[in-house]
Each structure stands twice: as structure tokens, then as C-alpha cells.
């Protein structure tokens, strides 16, 4: 009888232990809806094969909604999300708030030293990596080689603004529906202000001086805005003030933009014959400069981070390691070709001869390497960030300034009026936020 009882108890204990051993940890991953993220969701079988005890639930939201939800949750310590997709803008701000888990202890096979230095620098605070890049991007010029040839011009690999202006003038053929240049005009800190901030960097302008005084009243900003409005008014598509990334990409895929300056990540679409009739005619060049030592290219990375409030940090780290490891890039390449591999994060990708042979690979890495988030302008600045200023107030302020500049582009106000309004608004906001005493 006792033996039977013991056997039963033993069996129960074993069953309980076995149950514990295969206990599943569920992590919630908040992400944006873009091609690379959707592709990752389709490759989850590989993750589950390597991590059978972890279940991943996805929350996919539009970028701004995601930002709002994740900020609310993380600021209140909600712990609803275990892995979040965040940009280069948020990482330094949130890391300083203590909202993110450090990632320096990822397994050795993660190979942290393989991350591109510029991208890694943007995600590191005080020596600790707080987010692992999933894909990185800069901005560059893409143009139609056939139109350049027809116009009898050559766009150099490293053009100046003057060369870009001349090329835009030469290639514009409004009767044929061809616009010399397409630039972001839609208001938003991640839309027109991302572009204009990089243009300002190359023109010697800056958002703030060393004492956080806004600089929109400087001659450099006047030159930026004058040239921007003139370029788009003379050679841009109609309604340019409503065009953001998507609209200009669509125009480029349709061959209507002779030239466009935008994210390097769009190169995959532009050179894909399934998406563009002009895929074999696309040329790339670095973002232009004005001879002052800075090019008008940005630096951005969508990265995976773990909120400090997550209660499944180890499982989350296993996921982040899988999704941003070199092996994952190889997995994507094996399933969908090197063109679709997440770009802009690892040195080894650009050392790979198959990837390096892609028409946009070299320009992408050169553009990323040309961006310096810690020293973005030609003059000294008190902030970090190339196409943004890494302070919490920037998103709201830059969106308001973006609306003013978009109105100037639409002809609703002059460049001088827009700059004066932007200056007054910035002084008011920065004073209210305590930056200006």
C-alpha cells in the first residue's frame, strides 16, 4: 500500500516537473507594418524550432499608433509588451529614462561588434546597447539613368546641391509628366522635417545653437528654405506639399520622378521589376552637399528593444537575438533572395559578395557611414541625432514647424514668414520646456 502511494506521489511529482520543463513563455511583440516585419512573421517557424518553449504574440500597429501605445505602456510601467519596435529617435530618450533593458549581454553568436558603427552608436547610451537594429537606413538620391542620358547630363556619385539643381532643371518635362525632383513635402517630424533637417545640416544650418536657442532666423536656414521651395515649385510634382515617403515612392515607381531623395530602404522596391517598369534604369548617388563637409543624408534604424517592465526578459532576449542575428539575415536571403535581406545593420552583410553585387548596396553603406548622429551639423550643437533632435519635445515641435514649412511650400506664406513663425514657435516651446532660461 505504502509502495503504491509512493509510486503515485513520485509519478505526480515527475509529471509536475515535466510540466514545468515544457512550460511555455508567451511574449508580446509590438511592431510596425512594413515589408521586413511582415516577412519576419512569416519566418517564425525557424524561431519556434529553435525555441520551442517560447510563444510569440504579435501586435502590429501603424507607426504613430504604436508609438502612442508603447509610450503609454512603458511610461506607466504597464508591462503589456515584452519586445517593442522603436526608432533611433526614441532609444536615447527612453534609455535615459530607465525604460529599456540593456542588451550588452546577448549571446556571443549575436556578434555585437559586427553591427555597423554608425547604427550601433545611435542605439548606445553610456556604453550600453539598448536596442538591436532590425534594419537600418540612410537617405540618398535615386534617379532615372535614361532621363539623365536623354538630357545629356551625368549625375556624379557624390553630387553637390548645385549639380542636383541643374539636373532637376534639365530633366523636368512637365508636358510628359516627368518631374525633375521629388522631395518630401508632407508635414511631420518624420516626413518633410526629416528631409529638411538633413538639408539644413548640409547647408551649415542647425536647429539650435549650443545654448538651445532656435536658429531659424539664420541666413543658412533662409538659404535652405529658399532652395527647397524653389526646387519643388519649379521642378517638383504638383501638390508636392502633400507628398510624403509613400507618394514620392509611388511616383518614382511610375517613372514620374526623374530624381528623388529619400530612404535607402526603398532601393529594393525601385530595382524590383515586379514593382517598377524602370527597375533597370535606376541609378543611385550620395545625398548632395554644399561644400561644407556634411551631406544631406539621415540615419535611422528600426530596432527591437525590451521594456524594463517586461516580465519575460530572458525569452525576449532570445527573440531579439534570433530576429537581429546574422543567421536571420542569411535565413531571409536563403528564402527570398539577398535583395530582401534586412539592410543597414551589419558589416558582414556588406562584405558578402552576393549582397555587395546588388546595385544599391555600396551607396547604402556609404550613405550610412557618412551620417554622424553625434556631430550632425557643421557648427556645434547641443543635441544628438541627424534628422531629428533627440529630446522628448522634438516630435511635437518639429511637426508644428513642419506644418509651417509645408504651408510655405504650398504658397500659403512666404519663406520669410514661415521662418519667422517657426523661430517664434520654437523659442516659445523651448522656453516653456525649460531649455531656454
Amino acid at each position: 500500500m505504502t509502495k503504491t502511494l509512493r509510486a503515485l506521489l513520485g509519478a505526480t511529482a515527475l509529471a509536475a516537473l515535466a510540466g514545468a520543463a515544457i512550460a511555455e513563455t508567451t511574449i508580446t511583440v509590438a511592431t510596425v507594418n512594413n515589408g521586413d516585419m511582415v516577412r519576419m512573421q512569416g519566418l517564425m517557424d525557424d524561431f519556434y524550432a529553435k525555441n520551442p518553449d517560447i510563444k510569440v504574440e504579435w501586435v502590429t500597429l501603424e507607426e504613430n499608433v504604436l508609438r502612442q501605445n508603447v509610450t503609454t505602456d512603458i511610461a506607466t510601467g504597464g508591462g503589456q509588451y515584452d519586445v517593442i519596435t522603436i526608432g533611433t529617435y526614441e532609444v536615447p530618450i527612453w534609455a535615459k529614462q530607465g525604460w529599456l533593458e540593456g542588451l550588452n549581454d546577448l549571446p556571443a553568436d549575436y556578434d555585437i561588434d559586427d553591427l555597423l558603427p554608425a547604427i550601433r552608436g545611435g542605439l548606445t547610451v553610456d556604453g550600453t546597447l539598448y536596442a538591436s537594429p532590425f534594419y537600418g537606413e540612410s537617405s540618398f538620391v535615386n534617379y532615372r539613368k535614361d532621363l539623365a542620358e536623354k538630357a545629356g547630363i551625368t549625375i556624379p556619385d557624390a553630387p553637390s546641391w548645385d549639380e542636383i539643381k541643374a539636373a532637376a532643371a534639365a530633366m523636368t518635362d512637365t508636358e510628359a509628366g516627368i518631374y525633375g525632383i521629388c522631395l518630401r513635402g508632407k508635414a511631420g517630424w518624420g516626413e518633410n522635417m526629416a528631409f529638411l533637417t538633413t538639408m539644413a545640416n548640409s547647408y551649415g544650418a542647425r536647429w539650435f545653437d549650443e545654448n538651445w536657442q532656435p536658429q531659424f532666423d539664420s541666413p543658412e536656414w533662409k538659404a535652405v528654405m529658399t532652395d527647397y521651395v524653389e526646387l519643388l515649385t519649379k521642378y517638383g510634382p504638383p501638390g508636392a506639399s502633400n507628398n510624403g515617403y509613400n507618394e514620392n515612392l509611388t511616383l518614382s515607381l511610375q517613372g514620374k520622378c526623374a530624381m528623388r531623395m529619400d530612404a535607402t530602404v526603398s532601393a529594393g522596391s525601385l530595382t524590383d521589376p515586379a514593382q517598377s517598369e524602370f527597375a533597370d534604369q535606376v541609378g543611385f548617388a550620395l545625398a548632395p552637399d554644399a561644400g561644407l563637409g556634411k551631406r544631406a543624408n539621415w540615419l535611422w534604424a528600426w530596432s527591437l528593444a525590451i521594456p524594463a517592465s517586461s516580465d519575460a526578459k530572458e525569452a525576449s532576449k532570445a527573440f531579439v537575438n534570433w530576429a537581429t542575428n546574422k543567421d536571420y539575415i542569411a535565413l531571409v536571403a536563403s528564402k527570398e533572395g539577398w535583395r530582401n535581406a534586412p539592410p543597414g545593420t551589419r558589416t558582414s552583410l556588406y562584405a558578402n559578395p552576393e549582397y555587395a553585387a546588388l546595385p544599391f548596396a555600396k551607396m547604402t553603406i556609404d550613405s550610412i557611414n557618412a551620417a554622424d548622429p553625434t556631430n550632425p551639423a557643421t557648427k556645434p550643437v547641443p543635441y544628438v541625432g541627424v534628422q531629428f533632435v533627440a529630446i522628448p519635445e522634438f516630435a511635437g515641435l518639429a511637426t508644428s514647424v513642419g506644418e509651417i514649412f509645408s504651408a510655405a511650400l504650398a504658397g500659403q506664406k512666404t519663406v520669410d514668414e514661415a521662418l519667422a513663425e517657426a523661430q517664434a514657435l520654437s523659442v516659445e516651446e523651448m522656453t516653456a520646456a525649460g531649455y531656454i532660461q
Binding site: 507594418n33 501603424e62 506607466t76 503589456q80 509613400n246 515607381l253
Partner: protein, 276 residues
């Protein structure tokens, strides 16, 4: 002559009504047409109403990429649940205001309505914290409560308007015949106000179904309804309009069908007492 004018008048009114209806319906029509286009056709410039390459691929991809039945189930539970709970609270409240008004009843009604004028985002953090601390975050019961509270002023206002149309003498007669308070509300008032209650119910189901702020803020995976389903197909980068349109069409179709079948009831309820 009078008959001719009347006919012309009818034609003009009918044409005007059709024009207004078409203008209102056009975005929905555009969305439905876009959902059958390829992503490239969806963003063609100049825009095309019809395309040569119709496809069902967007629906197939949207279905494959997400758990539509789960989102749909959550939408049904949340919209119907919040409406029924709201009615259970609003019927006695509207009865009291309509038949036993106090000195401050009108002020109370206005105050209730004024809560609808506050931007939801202003109370987002406190509400989020309350839901977090009480364990209601990402639960269907949490959203039932949130949406019920959000729509309660409208439910009470609508029912109050309907109840005011019912002669108080009928309720008095019921009372004289020995009906208690409960019997008066359940057996006399409710059956008489049924068209009004039905239209209030339908309208609130539609409002709750379409709610896209709290339903996204207060959910992650378990209780996310169709509003979150739509949001997951929107993106600032990349071509997504056709798939987003397909997801939107799948999300509005059930409520569109409900509205279609109950339109008579809705119109009757909404115009109840309007020509008195």
C-alpha cells in the same frame, strides 16, 4: 398643374437625396473598389475608379496574415455587451428623468452630454492606469465597461427623448391598476418605447463597433477588436492601400449588413417625435 409641380418636386428631391447618399457613400465605395485592385493600381496616378486587373489577393493575404475571427468575435462581444449593459443602466435613468424630473434634471442631462465633448486623449493616462491597476487592461469586460461609459450619455439622451413622448397618464393608469415600479418599467414603459430602445441599441452597437481610440489604447492581443485589425494594416512606408482597404471592408461588412437590415427601424427610431 399642381400635380406636375408635385412630380417635378419629387424628382428634384429624389435626385438630391441620391446625390447626397452617393457623396456620403462614395468613400466606402472607393474603399471597396480599391480592395479588389493590385497595390500598384490602388495608387495609380491619376486615380482610376475601375481597373483592368481585379484581384482577390488582398483578401487572401489579409485573411492569411491575421486571425480575423478572433478580432471579429471581440468586436461582437464588446459592442453588443457594452450596449446591453448601457441599456440596463440607461432605461431606469431615462425613466426617472422623463417621468420624475427634478429641478436639476435638464442641467444633469447637459452635464452628461458635456462629458462627450472632452477629447479622449486628455484622460488617456488616468484611464490606462485605472485599467492597469484593476487588471482590466486587454480584457473584453474592460472594454465593455469603457465603451458603455463612453456611450452612456447618448443612450440616456436618446431614451429620455423617446420616453418624453409617452403620455405619463398611461403610466399613472398602470400604477392605479396596481403595477409596481418594476412592473411599470418592464411591462408598460419598455414595450411602448420598444422602437426607440431598438434604434438606440442599434445606433450604439454601430458606435461601439466603430470606436477606434480606446479599443486600440486599452488592448494588445486578447481583447483587440476589428479597429485594431484595421490598424495593423496601415503603415507610413510601403504600398499598403489595397490590403488596408480589404481589411477595412472585412471590418465594416458585418455592421453594414446589420445597418442595411435594420435601416427602417433606425430611421423610425431616429425620427420618433420629430414631427410632433
Amino acid at each position: 398643374m399642381a400635380r406636375a409641380v408635385s412630380r417635378r418636386h419629387k424628382v428634384v428631391v429624389t435626385l438630391a437625396a441620391w446625390s447626397v447618399a452617393l457623396i456620403i457613400f462614395f468613400p466606402v465605395l472607393w474603399m471597396i473598389l480599391t480592395s479588389f485592385k493590385t497595390e500598384t493600381s490602388a495608387v495609380a496616378s491619376p486615380p482610376q475608379l475601375f481597373t483592368a486587373d481585379w484581384t482577390l489577393e488582398n483578401y487572401a493575404e489579409v485573411w492569411a496574415r491575421s486571425d480575423y475571427p478572433r478580432f471579429f468575435g471581440n468586436s461582437v462581444v464588446i459592442s453588443v455587451g457594452s450596449t446591453l449593459l448601457g441599456l440596463a443602466i440607461a432605461i431606469p435613468a431615462a425613466w426617472a428623468m422623463a417621468f420624475v424630473p427634478g429641478k436639476r434634471t435638464k442641467d444633469l442631462l447637459m452635464w452628461m452630454l458635456s462629458t462627450k465633448m472632452m477629447p479622449a486623449v486628455a484622460v488617456m493616462i488616468p484611464v490606462y492606469l485605472i485599467f492597469l491597476r484593476t487588471g482590466l487592461i486587454d480584457t473584453r469586460i474592460g472594454l465593455v465597461i469603457a465603451l458603455m461609459l463612453m456611450n452612456l450619455p447618448i443612450i440616456i439622451w436618446m431614451l429620455y427623448t423617446y420616453f418624453k413622448e409617452i403620455p405619463a397618464e398611461i403610466l399613472e393608469a398602470a400604477r392605479m391598476d396596481g403595477a409596481g415600479l418594476w412592473g411599470e418599467i418592464v411591462h408598460v414603459l419598455t414595450p411602448m418605447a420598444l422602437p426607440g430602445i431598438a434604434s438606440t441599441m442599434l445606433l450604439n452597437i454601430i458606435l461601439a463597433w466603430n470606436e477606434a481610440f480606446w479599443t486600440i489604447v486599452l488592448t494588445t492581443t486578447n481583447a483587440a477588436p476589428l479597429s485594431a485589425f484595421i490598424a495593423s494594416f496601415s503603415a507610413p512606408q510601403g504600398l499598403f492601400y489595397a490590403k488596408l482597404s480589404a481589411a477595412s471592408a472585412m471590418a465594416i461588412l458585418p455592421i453594414l449588413i446589420l445597418g442595411w437590415f435594420s435601416q427602417k427601424q433606425l430611421v423610425r427610431g431616429l425620427t420618433f417625435g420629430a414631427v410632433k
